[in-house]
C-alpha cells in the first residue's frame, strides 16, 4: 500500500521566488522596472507612430499643428523687448507631449530613447562589474596568501579614489579618441566605453563581500572534504564555491545597477558618458540645465525617471536580500 510521502522541501531558489512573490514592495518595484523597460524599448514605435518626430534631429526652426493651429516649436517669450525664445512646453497631445528641449526635439521621445541607453549601460555595467568582481573575489578569497594580498591591495587603492573622480578621469582619457587595446578599437562614442568604465570603478565594492564569502566557504566542511578527496581546485571553485556565491551576486545585482545608473547619468551630464547624438537621462538633464527657469520639465522629467528606477532597484535589492540571505532569514525567524 502506497504511503503518502511528505512533499520534498522546495529548493532554496524556489523558496526565494516564493518569498519575493509575497513581498508586495519588491513586486511593485519589479513591475515598475518592467514597465519602464518596456516603455523604453518601445521608443522607436512611440517616436515614429505616435509623436511623429525625429528625436535626434535639431528642429529649432520647425513648427507643429496643435488644435488646427500651426505653432512654432521655439516660441518668443512674452515681454516688451521680445527677448529670448523658449522651447514649447508640454502640449499634452501625442506630439511634443512633454514639450521640446533646447534643440526643438520632442522631449517625451528623447526620454524613452534616453532610458534605453541609460538602462542598457547600467545593466551591462552591473553585469560586467559582477563578473569581474566575482573573478577577483573568488581568486583572492580562495587562493589566499600573496595572491589575496596583491588583489586586496589593488582593490584598496581603487577604493581609495572617489568613484566619480575615478570614472571622470578614465572618461576624459577615452572620450576624445576612444580606446585601443591591441587589435581592438572602441570608438569614442561607443556605449562600451561608459559600460566598462562604470563596471571597473565599482569592482572593489562588489569584490569585497564576495571575497569574504569565499573565505568563509573555503573553511566549510564540504570544501575541506573535496580537497581531501583530491578534487582539483578549479573544480572546487566551479562546483562548490561559485554556486554558493551566486546568491551574493544576485543580491548585489540591483544595487550595482542602481549605482551604475547614477554614475552613467553623472558622466553623461558632464558630457563624458553617452555621446551625442545618442541620448541618456544624464544628457537630457544636461540639456535641461539651461532651461531650468523657463522649461523645468526638460531637466525634471529625466531626473524623476532616474529617481523612480533607482528607488525600484533598491527596493528590489532589499527584497532579494530578504529572500536569499539565509542568515538574515534565520535572524528574523528567531
Amino acid at each position: 500500500m502506497a504511503q503518502d510521502l511528505p512533499a520534498p522541501p522546495a529548493g532554496p531558489w524556489r523558496q526565494a521566488m516564493r518569498s519575493i512573490a509575497r513581498n508586495r514592495s519588491a513586486m511593485a518595484a519589479l513591475a515598475t522596472l518592467a514597465l519602464v523597460t518596456l516603455a523604453c524599448m518601445l521608443a522607436p514605435l512611440y517616436a515614429h507612430h505616435v509623436a511623429h518626430t525625429d528625436p535626434f534631429t535639431s528642429n529649432v526652426a520647425g513648427s507643429i499643428v496643435l488644435d488646427g493651429h500651426e505653432v512654432d516649436i521655439m516660441q518668443p517669450n512674452d515681454n516688451p523687448l521680445h527677448l529670448g525664445l523658449s522651447p514649447i512646453g508640454p502640449t499634452w497631445h501625442a506630439t511634443y507631449l512633454l514639450g521640446a528641449d533646447s534643440q526643438g526635439r520632442d522631449l517625451a521621445s528623447r526620454l524613452l530613447y534616453g532610458g534605453r541607453d541609460s538602462l542598457l549601460v547600467s545593466s551591462c555595467a552591473a553585469v560586467v562589474c559582477l563578473v569581474l568582481a566575482a573573478m577577483a573575489g573568488i581568486v583572492a578569497g580562495f587562493s589566499g596568501g600573496v595572491v589575496d594580498a596583491l588583489l586586496s591591495r589593488m582593490m584598496d587603492i581603487m577604493w581609495a579614489v572617489p568613484v566619480y573622480l575615478f570614472a571622470i578621469s578614465l572618461s576624459i582619457v577615452t572620450v576624445s579618441h576612444g580606446l585601443r587595446v591591441g587589435p581592438v578599437t572602441v570608438r569614442a562614442d561607443s556605449l562600451l566605453i561608459p559600460i566598462f568604465i562604470i563596471a571597473l570603478v565599482y569592482v572593489p565594492y562588489a569584490a569585497r563581500p564576495i571575497r569574504g564569502r569565499v573565505m568563509a566557504l573555503r573553511q566549510a566542511e564540504f570544501v575541506t572534504a573535496a580537497r581531501c578527496l583530491g578534487v582539483p581546485r578549479w573544480r572546487i571553485v566551479v562546483r562548490d564555491i561559485l554556486p554558493n556565491v551566486t546568491t551574493t551576486l544576485v543580491m548585489l545585482g540591483p544595487l550595482l545597477m542602481a549605482l551604475s545608473l547614477l554614475a552613467e547619468s553623472a558622466l553623461s551630464f558632464l558630457s563624458l558618458g553617452v555621446q551625442a547624438p545618442a541620448a541618456s537621462w544624464g544628457t537630457i538633464i544636461q540639456d535641461g540645465e539651461g532651461l531650468i527657469y523657463t522649461r523645468p520639465m526638460v531637466a525634471v522629467a529625466p531626473g524623476l525617471a532616474i529617481v523612480v528606477v533607482v528607488l525600484a532597484l533598491n527596493i528590489l535589492g532589499d527584497g532579494l536580500r530578504d529572500a536569499l540571505d539565509v542568515r538574515d532569514a534565520a535572524r528574523r525567524s528567531s
Binding site: S58, A61, D78, L81, L83, G84, A276, Y293
Partner: protein, 559 residues
C-alpha cells in the same frame, strides 16, 4: 538815495537770497549724482592689468577711465561713440605728405596718477613699448610706422627713431608712416596706444597697476577676488568728450560668480552691472520684469563658421558654398536669444559696419514681401546638390565648438544640417579658453568650427582684412587669426587700396568689393551679428553704451 535806487536796492535785497538759494539748489542737484560706489561683476578676472597687452573686452571698459591716448573714441553712447576725438593731444591733426605724416601737440598741464607730468618722452616711450612688450595689435595697427618692421623683428632694440619725432620744447609729436593709412587716427585712439610713464617696465606688468592719466586709478587688484578703483587725485577735466570726470567715487569689480548668480545679484540691486552674456534662460524674465533696466545695444560682435580651405572637404569651393546654403541663420539666432539679440549676416562684417546691398548671397528669396528681410531662408536642396557635385559626399566632418551651452547647441544643430546635406558630421567640444587658439593652428587640421569675433573699431577692415588677409595666416601657429588659411592676392590688393583710400564713399565701395569677392569664395560662413544685452541695477542712472568700452563707467551714476 533816489527813489529809483532805493527801489532797486530793496528788490536786490529780496532777490539776492533767492538767487543764492537757487544757486545752492542747482549745485546740489548737479552733485546729487556724484559719489557712491559702482559695483561691477565678472565671472573671471580679465588677467593682466597691462593696458598695452590686455586684449579682452573685460578691462577695456575699466582702462577707458584710467588711461588716455593722444586720441580716443568719444566717451558717448550710440553712434557718437565711434568718433575719434583729441585726448592728450590738443587737436586732431591734418594729414601731411599725402597721408604719410601726422603731427600732434601734447596737451600741457596733465599729470599721471602718481603726480608726475606727462611729457613727450612718455609718448615716445609708450609707442616703443607697444613693440617691446609685443602688444597684440603691434603688427596689425602700428606696423605702418616707419621703423616698426625692425621693432617687430627686434623688439628690445626698438626706438622708432625714424618713425617718431618728439620735441620737448613745443610738445610736438610727429609720426612718419611707410604708406598712407586712412585709419591711422582710429588706430591711435585704440587703448593699446595709451600713454604710460616712460619708466614703465618693458614686460607684462601683470597685477601691478601702471599710473595713468584718467579720472580713476587702480587701487588694488587680486585676480581671484576683485579690482578696486578710486579717483585720480591729479585728474582735472580737459575734455569731457575724451575723459569725463566720472560720477562715482569708487568702482569695484568683483569676480567669481556664475552668470546666473550675477543676473540675480544685479536684479536684486546688490551689484550694478555684469559683464557676462545673459543666460538665455533668463532673457524672458529680464524682458518681462525689468524692461526699463535692460539695454539692447548694437555691437561689433559677430559669429561665423570658418572653413579650412586647405583640407578636405572644404578645400573644395562647392563644398564651402554648400555649407553656406545649408545653414539657416534664423535658426542659429534662436540659440543667442532670438531676433531681438541676433541678426543674420550677409557679409563677414556686421551690417552696422558694412550695410548689405541688395539680395544676400546663399539664401532663397523671402516667401512673402513681408517676409524676413536680409537673409530669408536656406536652400537644403541646392546644398545637397553642391555636395554631390563636389564629390565630397559621405566624408567625415568634425565641427569644433566651445563647451558653453550656446556653442554646444549650435554645434549640435550644425551637425544635423551637415548630415542632412550628405556629410558624416560630428561635434568636438573644447573648453572656451583653448578652442579659439586650437582652431587657429593649422597643425590641428580643424575642418570647420564655430567662433566669434569682436571688432576693435567700427570699420570693415577690422573684419574683412584682419580675418582674411594673407598676412593674417601663419601656418602651425596658435596666433593665426585667418582661421580658414585663406589667401587671395587679388582680394589683398583690393583691401590694401581700401586701407589707403582717404575718401569715405570710395573706401566703402572698395570694402564692398572685397566683401563680395570673399562671399564668392566663401572661406567662412557669416552667421550672426550679435547685440549686447545689458542689465543694470535700479539705482544706476545715465547709462551709456560704447561698442568698445561697453557701459561707460565714468558716465554712470548710482543713487
Amino acid at each position: 538815495m533816489s527813489l529809483c535806487a532805493r527801489y532797486v536796492f530793496r528788490h536786490l535785497l529780496v532777490l539776492l537770497p533767492a538767487m543764492f538759494a537757487l544757486c545752492v539748489t542747482a549745485q546740489a542737484a548737479g552733485q546729487d549724482h556724484h559719489g557712491g560706489e559702482l559695483r561691477l561683476l565678472g565671472s573671471t578676472s580679465g588677467g593682466t592689468l597691462d593696458p598695452q597687452l590686455h586684449y579682452t573686452p573685460v578691462y577695456l571698459q575699466i582702462f577707458s577711465a584710467v588711461y588716455d591716448g593722444l586720441l580716443t573714441y568719444r566717451k558717448a553712447g550710440g553712434a557718437a561713440g565711434d568718433e575719434v576725438v583729441p585726448d592728450l593731444a590738443t587737436a586732431l591733426p591734418q594729414p601731411e605728405d599725402g597721408g604719410r605724416t601726422w603731427t600732434f601737440y601734447l596737451r600741457p598741464g596733465i599729470r599721471f596718477s602718481d603726480g608726475r607730468p606727462v611729457r613727450v618722452q612718455d609718448v615716445q616711450a609708450s609707442f616703443q613699448r607697444i613693440f617691446r612688450v609685443g602688444s597684440p595689435t603691434a603688427s596689425s595697427f602700428y606696423e605702418n610706422i616707419v621703423g616698426a618692421h625692425d621693432c617687430l623683428r627686434q623688439p628690445h632694440a626698438c626706438t622708432l627713431s625714424e618713425g617718431m619725432e618728439v620735441d620737448p620744447a613745443t610738445g610736438r609729436i610727429t609720426f612718419h608712416l611707410v604708406e598712407p593709412d586712412a585709419e591711422f587716427l582710429t588706430k591711435l585712439a585704440y587703448p593699446h596706444a595709451v600713454i604710460l610713464p616712460a619708466d614703465t617696465p618693458d614686460h607684462d606688468v601683470g597685477t601691478v597697476p601702471v599710473a595713468g592719466t584718467g579720472a580713476y586709478r587702480v587701487v588694488s587688484y587680486d585676480p581671484q577676488q576683485s579690482l578696486h578703483l578710486a579717483r585720480n587725485p591729479y585728474f582735472h577735466v580737459w575734455s569731457d568728450a575724451a575723459q569725463p570726470e566720472g560720477y562715482v567715487d569708487t568702482i569695484i569689480y568683483r569676480f567669481g560668480l556664475r552668470d546666473e548668480d550675477e543676473v540675480t545679484s544685479v536684479e536684486a540691486g546688490h551689484d550694478d552691472w555684469m559683464f557676462e552674456v545673459k543666460p538665455l534662460d533668463r532673457l524672458g524674465e529680464l524682458g518681462a520684469r525689468f524692461p526699463d533696466r535692460v539695454h539692447i545695444n548694437p555691437s561689433l560682435h559677430i559669429v561665423y563658421v570658418p572653413l579650412n580651405v586647405h583640407i578636405a572637404p572644404f578645400d573644395n569651393a562647392m563644398a564651402r558654398q554648400a555649407v553656406a546654403w545649408a545653414l539657416d541663420r534664423h535658426a542659429a539666432a534662436i540659440f543667442y536669444g532670438g531676433p531681438a539679440v541676433a541678426t543674420p549676416m550677409c557679409d563677414m562684417a556686421p551690417p552696422n559696419v558694412l550695410p548689405p546691398v541688395g539680395q544676400c548671397p546663399y539664401t532663397l528669396p523671402a516667401v512673402s514681401a513681408s517676409g524676413m528681410s536680409g537673409w530669408p531662408r536656406p536652400d537644403l536642396d541646392r546644398a545637397r546638390d553642391l555636395v554631390m557635385k563636389s564629390g565630397t559626399q559621405g566624408q567625415a566632418v568634425t565641427i569644433v565648438v566651445q563647451t558653453d551651452s550656446t556653442q554646444r547647441g549650435i554645434g549640435a544643430w550644425m551637425r544635423d544640417r551637415l548630415q542632412q546635406i550628405g556629410y558624416r558630421a560630428s561635434v568636438r567640444e573644447i573648453s572656451r579658453g583653448v578652442q579659439f587658439s586650437y582652431i587657429q593652428n593649422s597643425a590641428n587640421n580643424v575642418q570647420i568650427s564655430l567662433t566669434s569675433w569682436f571688432g576693435d573699431y567700427p570699420s570693415p577692415s577690422n573684419f574683412v582684412y584682419l580675418l582674411f588677409a594673407c598676412s593674417s595666416f601663419h601656418p602651425h601657429s596658435d596666433n593665426s587669426i585667418n582661421i580658414p588659411g585663406y589667401c587671395n592676392p587679388a582680394l589683398d590688393a583690393v583691401m590694401h587700396r581700401a586701407l589707403q583710400e582717404p575718401r569715405d564713399p570710395v573706401r566703402m565701395a572698395l570694402w564692398r568689393q572685397a566683401s563680395n569677392m570673399l562671399n564668392s569664395d566663401e572661406p567662412a560662413v557669416p552667421l550672426l551679428a550679435i547685440k549686447d544685452v545689458d542689465l543694470v541695477s535700479a539705482r544706476l542712472g545715465n547709462y551709456a553704451y560704447h561698442t568698445l568700452y561697453h557701459m561707460l563707467v565714468a558716465r554712470a551714476w548710482v543713487r
